[in-house]
């Protein structure tokens, strides 16, 4: 028992160090850093490189990593990105940090190729073999790495409290946190405070990363756990209170540590409980803190999204409006004519992903909601479809097969069922977290995604030792879709239908209602919009599309595997869609096809060490939103329309056009 308490304290200390960094940066700049785990990972890899690859001593590596590298990294990220985000609208703040979350590990793995594989035996602050001390009076053994964690935690908490409570810098920081504007007009340089907090915050993330590496291993995937646990702790502190955050981190760590004593030694719960603690804690906070339910932090009006944003010139009308979409459709359907069978297969994957990506167009683009669980919903759709189509059990329960076919449900029906199953699950997570503000919704969906990944997707019947469930292609209406070209045409047709439906929705009353909610929920409510109902409806539709897209993607690659729908893959998807624009169905198509084609091109024509370059580019694309919030596609369309308008103005017949 004492051993588990110790393990809990150790985990709690690491979460606390990381979460304090998160709260510090959030409260000084109002940007939640979704790349916090990625930052921790970056510093941990750098430390590993200095120590293991360059052969530096542990103290020297630690000093350089934490006192030189981390502050420089923090300063650079602040200067390039976070500084600009303070005055951006919430969705841009969110998507740009998601972009960083994608780009940073990819960049690290390019710069330090040794980190491309998972490093299980990672170096911590203690020399290997790690010394173990037996504390007989407590009845526990503690190893040197755990001692380092506890010391590190204590130093950070005491140091940070002393810094904030007893120094002029701390006073300036606290003033800035309470009211940036008042602090500014009292002569405090809030820019310096904000930069300083990012430097300290990054160093804290780095410290947490180095401490965590020997416990979890050094892999980008494992570090999402650190991120989510830190988020949960920060939510306990309402993203502002350092003592409450510390308490939250300790509680999460202790629950995770002590629970090991009571959990079964094998089965899903033994591995799945730990990641679910942050989600449960977040949910508890939601129920306990009614204050979280309303958006507390308003958009800074100084940013003046209103003032700066130039509305687009009016779109084309009549037959001209049909030219663009028709051209895209013709290009899409003619793909099998000018590409080899292999590449048709690759583009098919892209088309299936494009269908899936429409879920982001609906939920984020139209609904204005920040969700990180769309990939998980796609996985739900894919696994349900595969289980039904192959007549395999779901949670040990065999769904009856009322159909005459020997293998299982007909695949078309199985796909439909998969998409439908995703809907109630999406609605469940949405209804639990919708009343929270934008950012809390993102946090809750992230925690939920991780929960499903660990508790459901990890089950042997779905995971099947990483192989997933294999899936055949459908035959219906007498057409055999095993032929790649035929199947591609099917996917393209489904995409076109869904794209038209999406555009219909946008232009109809529903679109007007959603647009009004995106601009002002208050005003929308006072003209009678049922906010929660509209959001749930949107989330439900997006869940259906996610499930459908996931199922179709699984059929395209021939198997439904949880690997294809990991949280980390989901954020790359979100980043690439966002970089082209979440408001456009064409952006979803381009994003889907590029996501499939670009890595394939890289692997064919460039050395394998370049494999992370596409991911890096996708992440950087989303980061660019900080400058260009509506995505690059909007930019292009906008400039084309402005050009057209200028040309039109030169001709005397069209006078009195609204200036652009």
């Amino acid at each position: 028992m004492q051993g588990y308490v110790l393990a809990g304290l150790v985990l709690g200390s690491i979460y606390a160090i990381s979460a304090l960094g998160l709260v510090l940066t959030y409260s000084s700049s109002r940007v939640i850093n979704f790349a916090h785990g990625a930052t921790a990972y970056t510093v941990a890899v750098f430390f590993h490189w200095l120590n293991q690859v360059q052969g530096w001593s542990i103290p020297a590596s630690a000093a350089v990593s934490l006192l030189v590298f981390s502050p420089l990294l923090g300063l650079a990220l602040w200067g390039i990105l976070f500084r600009h985000l303070t005055h951006s609208p919430p969705d841009v703040r969110f998507l740009a940090t998601v972009g960083l979350w994608v780009a940073l590990p990819a960049g690290v793995q390019l710069a330090f190729p040794f980190s491309q594989g998972q490093i299980l035996q990672s170096q911590g602050f203690a020399r290997v073999p790690v010394a173990i001390y037996h504390l007989d009076w407590l009845g526990v053994s503690i190893n040197a790495n755990q001692v380092a964690v506890l010391i590190g935690g204590a130093v950070v908490v005491v140091g940070l409290s002393a810094l904030l409570r007893a120094t002029p810098v701390g006073l300036a920081t606290r003033a800035t946190v309470d009211s940036p504007r008042t602090a500014e007009i009292s002569g405090i340089n809030t820019t310096m405070v904000s930069a300083g907090s990012w430097i300290v915050g990054t160093a804290l993330a780095g410290l947490a990363g180095i401490l965590l590496a020997p416990i979890l291993g050094l892999s980008n995937g494992e570090f999402t756990l650190l991120l989510v646990a830190s988020f949960a702790a920060a939510v306990v502190g309402r993203l502002t209170s350092l003592p409450l955050t510390f308490l939250g981190a300790m509680v999460i760590g202790l629950i995770q540590g002590i629970a090991v004593d009571y959990l079964p030694s094998h089965g899903v719960l033994s591995t799945g409980f730990r990641p679910s603690v942050p989600f449960i804690v977040m949910l508890g906070c939601l129920l306990l803190y009614p204050g979280l339910r309303r958006e507390r932090f308003e958009v800074d009006r100084r940013a003046g999204a209103r003032a700066r944003e130039v509305p687009p010139p009016p779109p084309l009308r009549g037959w001209r409006a049909a030219i663009g979409p028709l051209a895209v459709a013709v290009a899409l359907f003619s793909v099998p004519l000018w590409l080899s069978t292999f590449w048709v297969g690759v583009v098919s994957q892209g088309a299936a992903l494009a269908i899936l990506f429409l879920t982001f167009t609906i939920v984020t683009g139209e609904g204005g909601m920040l969700s990180l669980c769309q990939a998980t919903l796609a996985g739900v759709g894919a696994l349900t479809t595969a289980s039904l189509a192959t007549h395999s059990p779901i949670f040990g329960w065999l769904v009856p097969n009322p159909f005459s076919s020997a293998t299982g449900w007909p695949i078309g029906l199985a796909v439909l069922a998969g998409a439908l199953v995703a809907v109630p699950i999406g609605l469940l997570v949405a209804s639990l977290s919708l009343r929270l503000g934008d950012v809390y919704l993102a946090l809750a969906t992230l925690a939920f995604a991780l929960l499903i990944e660990q508790l459901v997707f990890a089950r042997p019947e779905f995971d099947n030792f990483g192989a997933g469930i294999s899936l055949g292609r459908p035959i219906f209406l007498g057409i055999n879709f095993s032929d790649p070209a035929t199947f591609f045409v099917l996917l393209a047709a489904i995409f076109c239908v869904l794209a038209v439906l999406t555009v219909n929705l946008r232009r109809a009353t529903t679109g007007l209602v959603l647009a009004s909610m995106r601009s002002s929920e208050q005003a929308a409510a006072t003209i009678g919009v049922r906010i929660v109902r509209s959001k749930l409806l949107t989330f439900g539709v997006s869940s259906f599309i996610a499930g459908l897209g996931g199922a179709l993607f699984a059929i395209t690659i021939g198997r439904a595997s949880p690997d294809s729908f990991e949280v980390l893959i989901g954020i790359v998807w979100l980043a690439i869609v966002a970089s082209f624009g979440t408001r456009s169905v064409l952006a979803a198509l381009i994003a889907g096809i590029l996501f499939a084609v670009v890595p394939q091109l890289f692997s064919e024509h460039l050395p394998t060490s370049w494999a992370m370059v596409p991911t890096l580019l996708f992440g950087l694309g989303a980061i660019r939103l900080a400058i260009n919030p509506r995505g690059s596609l909007f930019d292009i369309q906008h400039s084309v329309r402005v050009l057209r308008l200028r040309r039109a103005r030169r001709s005397p017949t069209l006078e009195g056009q609204a200036p652009a």
Binding site: P311, A508, I527, V529, I531
Partner: protein
């Protein structure tokens, strides 16, 4: 006297230790204009928040057309015939002026619950009578010229009239107007006042008007309530209010009230 359209009794709201409202009553009869005046920090905007359902009161009761709506959502109140405007413009930045009226009207008609119809592409068609009704409202408030402009392009004064138009498009029985002329110049103020008169004459809607322009309030209103530090200090027809010593003290300060004249914020 007939039953009041909007009736608030004993409304109390506190933020932390500050009593923003301490037992305020407000009654609005059908088709009347009620002025709500008072210095900064008197609790006018807070009262609007309670009336429209964006804030819940600590004590008190709000009735709308005889229905107790104290705990009701803003949406439900809107459907019962309450609309409002905001002191700080809350327009829908992605929509044109015309679309503001269209969306408000369609929600009134229950057309926000037609997902399948919308997916099928039928949701773009205007409902019967919609075009005429929206055009009539645009004409009434003199917004015809800017009807197809996106709202970020219209000036502040026009923006306030768009908010009024959006409120009227929900076919309300009572509209709460939160400082419709603040930040406007003389001409814009006159435009807003004209729009208000036109709306009352044409639609028979009751208004509650929070306004710092006392002359405008006294000219337009049938009935005036004066708030100070979260309490009603005077209530009556404009002529009576104009003469009231207490109101003058609250606004201008006198020897007796000098000690408390420092209003919070």
């Amino acid at each position: 006297m007939t039953e009041p359209l909007l009736d608030a009794r004993g409304i109390a709201v506190s933020f932390g230790g500050v009593d923003a409202l301490a037992g305020v009553d407000l009654t609005v009869a059908a088709t009347s204009i009620v002025g709500l005046v008072g210095p900064n920090g008197a609790g006018k905007t807070t009262l609007f928040g309670v009336l429209s359902g964006l804030l819940s009161p600590r004590r008190g009761r709000v009735e709308l057309a005889g229905v107790d709506v104290t705990g009701a959502t803003p949406q439900r109140r809107a459907r019962l015939g309450l609309a409002r405007t905001f002191q700080r413009l809350e327009l829908f930045d992605e929509l044109t002026v015309r679309d503001h009226l269209v969306v408000a009207r369609r929600i009134r008609e229950g057309r926000d619950r037609t997902l399948l119809r919308d997916l099928a592409g039928l949701g773009r068609r205007p409902s019967p009578g919609e075009r005429d009704a929206v055009d009539a409202l645009l004409d009434l408030l003199d917004l015809g010229d800017v009807a197809n402009q996106p709202v970020p392009l219209v000036p502040l004064g026009t923006g306030r009239i768009v908010e009024l138009a959006r409120a009227l498009a929900t076919e309300p029985r009572v509209v709460l107007l939160d400082e419709p002329t603040s930040g406007l110049d003389v001409h814009e103020t006159e435009r807003v006042a004209a729009a208000l008169r036109a709306a009352r004459a044409d639609r028979g809607v009751a208004f509650v008007l929070v306004e710092h322009d006392v002359e405008l309030v006294l000219e337009l209103c049938d009935d005036v309530t004066v708030l100070d530090f979260g309490r009603v200090i005077a209530h009556g027809p404009p002529a009576e209010i104009r003469a009231s010593a207490e109101v003058q003290a609250a606004y201008l300060g006198t020897a007796s009230s000098a000690s408390t004249a420092e209003t919070p914020r």
